[in-house]
Amino acid sequence: MDLSYSEEQNLLRDSVAKYIENNYDISERNKLTASDEGFSRENWKQFAELGWLAMPFAEEDGGIGGTPVDTMIMMEEFGKGLVVEPFLATVVMAGTAISEFGSTAQREELLAGIIDGSLLATFAYAEEQAHHDLSNVTTSAVKDGDFYTLNGTKSVVLNAQTADKILVVARTSGDQVSDHGLTVFIVDKGADGLKLDSYPTLDGLRASEVTLKDVKVQGDCVIGKVDEGMAVVSKVANRAILALAAEAVGAMEMLYKDTIAYTKQRQQFDHPLSDFQVLKHRMTEMFMEHALATSLTMKATMLETQGSADTQRTIHALKYLIGKSTRFVGQNAVQLHGGMGMTEELRVAHYFKRLTVIDSQFGNTDHHLTRFVA
C-alpha cells in the first residue's frame, strides 16, 4: 500500500495552491460573485493553459489521462480557495458524461472545447418533485423520426446561464421513478423552446431553472444508450460527490485552522479564547471531523479509480459523513468566531455558506445514510 501522492500529483497540488494564493483572496472572490456571470473567464482561460481542464480526460481525447485522485487533489485546493469557476459543472459533471459515455464523434466535438476552455457545459439532472431521488424524472423526450422532442423543467442547474451545452436527463420510457427509461441528451443552449430562469445560490455561485418546451434535438445528441441513461446519471453523481467531498475537505481545513488562529488572538476574561478547555475540545473535534472526512474521501476516490464493487456503498457513506462533518465544522467555526463569524467580511461565513450548499447537492445526509444502511 502507498497512500502518498506521486511527484506529478504533488506538482499539481502545488500549482493549484500557488495559483489560488496569488490570484484568489476573499475580496477578489466577492467581486466575481457580484459580477454578471459569477466567475472570471480570464481565470478559466488560465485553468485551461495550466492543463487543469484536461486533467481527467483520456490522452486519446486530448486529455492528460488523470484519475479521480487528480480531480480530488484539485478540488481540495479549490475548496480552500472557494473557487467559483464552473469546474464542477463543466469538467466533472458534463465532462464525465461525455468522456465515459460519449460516442467518438461526441468526444471529438465536445471534449476538445472543454479542454481548451472554449466550451462550457453543465448537467441538468434534478427536478423539483424528485427530492434527491436521481431516477425521479418527469421531463419527457418523445421520438419523432430523426428527432426527439423534449418537454419539462430541470431545477437548480449549476452554471446553466453560462453553459454552451446543457446535458438534459429526460424520460424516454417507464414510469416516473423507474431507473429504466432515462436518456441523456446534449441540448444546445440556443435551442428553440429552451428558457432559463437564473439566480445566485447562497454561496455566490449561479444556477437556473431550465424549462424545455417542445425542444427538438437530433437523434445523435443522445449520450450513451437510449433508456439506459441511469448509468450516466449514477456515474456523474458519484464523480460529483467525490469532487464535492474533496472540496468540502479543503474548506473544512481552512475553517478549523482559521478558528484556531482567531481564538489564539482573541482575548476575553484576560485570556486568549484558546485557553478555555471547552473551546480547545471543540476545535479538537473539528480537527477530528476533518481527518475522518479526509480519510473517507481518499478511500472512496481510490475505490472509484479501481472500479471496485464497494464503490457505490462507500460513496453513500461518504456523502453522509461529509454532510455531518461540514455541518459541525461550519457551525462551530461561526460560533467560535462569535459576532465576527456572522459577518460577510471574514471568509469563515463564505466557507460556511458553501458547505451548506454542498450538503444540498446530489443528496443530503439523510438521503445517503438511508441508502447506505439499505
Binding site: V334, G339, D366
Partner: protein, 385 residues
C-alpha cells in the same frame, strides 16, 4: 401539585384570547394597521406595555398573567414591539432613574416615537462585557461627560434616536466597578454609525464610533460607577426572553407542514423515518422545555426566584430554534441552495435559507452558549469560578 391554572387565570386567558380575536388585524393589515392594534392594547389598560407596573401606566400583571399574555400573543404571531425601549431600558428608568428622567423618556418609549439602541458590546468586550473601554470623562465644571470609544453589534443603531450606553468612568478596582450608564442622543456630531453586513447580506447591526461626544450629567442613570449593577439584572431578563419557546412551537408545526408538502416516493418527507424522528425528537424536547418554563413561572408566582431551571431556557431554546431551521433547509432539498430573488422550488425554501444563516447568531448574542454554560456550572452547580 396541580397542573391546571387557577379559575381566575383561566378567565384571564379567555379574556386575552377574546381581545386578540376582536382586535388583531389579519393578513396584510397586520402590518398596515399595527398602529391601531397597539392603540387597542393601550386602551385595554396598558396592555401595550405588559411588563410595566401600574404606577407607570402598565397593567401590573402577576407572573402567571404575564406568562399567559405572552403565550397567547406568541400563538397568534402578534406584531412585535422594538424591545430596546419598552422591555430593556424602561425597567432601568423605573428602577434607577429620577422622576425627571422617567417623565422625559418613558412617554416616547411607550408610543414608539423615539427609537433606542443598546450600546453595550465593544470590540474587546463581547462575552467579557465588563471589559468595556469606552471612556466617559467628567468636564471640570462637572456639567458634562465627554465620551470616546467604540461600540459594536449595535442593533438598529442606524435608525435609533438615542442609545443607552455603558461607559467607563474609572479603571481603578475590579472592572465591574467604574462603569456608568449614560443616555446619549444619536444626532450628536461626534457619533458615527457604520453598517456591518451579516451572513446572508442583511444590515441590522452596526459599529458606533463616539468621538468627544458631550453628554449632560442629567443623562446619567443612577450613580456614577454603578452602571454594571443596573445593566446586569436586565441581561438575565434578556436571556430568558430569547428562549422563544412559543415561537418554536409554531415553527415546529410549520416545519411539519413544509415537510408534508414535499413528496418522497409514495408519501411525503414526513413519512421518511430519518426525518420524522428528528421532528419527533424536537417535539419531545419542546414539550419538556415548555414545562421547564412553567416550573420557572411557578417558582416566581410562589414568591421565589426564577430558580436554576431558568438558566437553561436560553441555552436549550436557541439550540432548538437552530435545529428547526436545519429541518426546513433539509426539507427544501436542492432548493435550500437558492438565494436572492429566485422563485424556484417550494415557497418556504426562500425564508428557510435566510433563517438558517441568521439563526446562527442566536447562540452567540445575549451571552454565547459557552458563557451560559459557565454561568450554570458556576452559579447553579457550584463548580468553581
Amino acid at each position: 401539585m396541580d397542573i391546571e391554572f387557577s379559575k381566575e387565570d383561566l378567565e384571564f386567558q379567555q379574556e386575552v384570547q377574546e381581545f386578540i380575536k376582536e382586535n388583531l388585524p389579519r393578513g396584510a393589515e397586520l402590518w398596515t394597521k399595527r398602529g391601531e392594534w397597539f392603540e387597542a392594547l393601550r386602551n385595554k389598560g396598558g396592555w401595550d406595555v405588559s411588563r410595566w407596573p401600574v404606577e407607570f401606566g402598565g397593567p401590573g400583571f402577576t407572573p402567571t398573567q404575564r406568562y399567559i399574555f405572552d403565550l397567547e400573543m406568541a400563538k397568534n404571531s402578534t406584531p412585535p414591539q422594538m424591545p430596546f425601549g419598552v422591555t430593556m431600558l424602561a425597567p432601568i428608568l423605573m428602577g434607577y432613574g429620577t422622576k425627571e428622567q422617567q417623565d422625559r423618556f418613558l412617554p416616547g418609549i411607550r408610543d414608539g416615537s423615539v427609537n433606542w439602541c443598546q450600546g453595550y458590546s465593544e470590540p474587546g468586550a463581547g462575552s467579557d462585557l465588563a471589559n468595556l473601554k469606552t471612556k466617559a470623562e467628567l468636564t471640570e465644571d462637572g456639567q458634562h461627560y465627554v465620551v470616546n470609544g467604540q461600540k459594536i453589534w449595535t442593533t438598529l443603531a442606524h435608525i435609533a434616536n438615542w442609545m443607552f450606553c455603558l461607559t467607563r468612568t474609572s479603571s481603578d478596582g475590579p472592572k465591574q466597578e467604574g462603569i456608568t450608564f449614560l443616555l446619549i442622543p444619536m444626532d450628536d456630531p461626534g457619533i458615527e454609525v457604520r453598517p456591518i453586513i451579516t451572513l446572508g447580506g442583511s444590515h441590522t447591526v452596526n459599529e458606533v464610533y463616539l468621538t468627544d461626544v458631550k453628554v449632560p450629567v442629567e443623562n446619567r442613570i443612577g450613580e456614577e460607577g454603578k452602571g454594571w449593577t443596573y445593566a446586569k439584572g436586565l441581561l438575565a431578563h434578556e436571556r430568558t426572553g430569547l428562549a422563544g419557546i412559543q415561537n418554536s412551537v409554531l415553527a415546529l408545526e410549520k416545519a411539519k407542514e413544509n415537510a408534508a408538502s414535499i413528496k418522497v416516493g409514495d408519501g411525503t418527507l414526513m413519512d421518511v423515518p430519518a426525518f420524522r424522528n428528528k421532528v419527533g425528537a424536537l417535539e419531545a424536547e419542546l414539550l419538556a422545555l415548555e414545562f421547564t418554563e412553567l416550573r420557572t413561572l411557578a417558582s416566581v408566582a410562589a414568591g421565589g426566584s426564577p430558580g436554576p431551571e431558568s438558566s437553561i431556557l436560553k441555552l436549550k431554546g436557541t439550540e432548538i430554534q437552530q435545529r428547526l431551521q436545519e429541518l426546513n433547509i433539509e426539507a427544501a432539498g436542492i432548493f435550500g441552495a437558492v438565494w436572492g430573488n429566485g422563485t424556484a422550488g417550494p415557497k418556504f425554501a426562500r425564508g428557510a435559507t435566510g433563517a438558517y444563516l441568521g439563526g446562527r447568531a442566536t447562540t452567540i448574542y445575549g451571552g454565547a452558549s459557552e458563557v451560559q454554560k459557565d454561568v450554570i456550572s458556576k452559579n447553579v452547580l457550584g463548580l468553581g469560578s
